[in-house]
Amino acid sequence: MANAQNTAAAGNTASAGSMAIIAPLAGWLFPGLGHFIQRRWIRGLLLMLAVFIMFFCGIGMQGKVYGFNTGDLLDILGFIGDIGSGLLYFAARAMDWGAGNIQRAVADYGTKYIVVAGLLNIIAAVDAHQIAIGKKS
């Protein structure tokens, strides 16, 4: 009996340990997925909507999507922020979205929208990790 309980407890610990890695990774790759796989449906949906709306509004405003670069510091930071969106970033690069438009003032807002969408997604992924390790309900 005691052995069965110990085995079950060890299984739960291993499951929680793997979830602590899988949840933030899933959340980074697809906004909200880290919460979905932990059955936080409403939170995941709201996070997904917030990141998607910001990202696609940014694209719609003709904001710039930064590629990997080793040039200006702000460009490097822009790339780090953008890549926080996970698959959205790679989709945007693959579809050639986010070329930027320096002739429109609102396009600069779009660039910031895209960077902040990535940063918000990283916060959401960290939240998924906190839930997985039991620091948050």
Binding site: L49, A50, I53, V106, G110, K136
Partner: protein, 60 residues
């Protein structure tokens, strides 16, 4: 697809999305999440309005 947001609309959309994420991630209970999200939203939008008036005063 090209979006034409005014400055204020862009700020409100930004505030709504950022407040949603802040509310969900920085608080534990649904009630606290809602309150904190609303608090962040009011600070974002209030900050925009105050900054706009400060710029107006500087100009005049």
């Amino acid at each position: 697809m090209t979006l034409e947001f005014s400055h204020f609309t862009a700020a409100v959309v930004f505030a709504a999305c950022a407040s949603t994420v802040f509310g969900i991630t920085q608080r534990s209970t649904p009630r606290d999440m809602l309150r904190y999200g609303a608090y962040c939203f009011s600070l974002f939008v209030g900050g925009v309005i105050v900054a706009a008036w400060v710029m107006w005063l500087i100009k005049h």
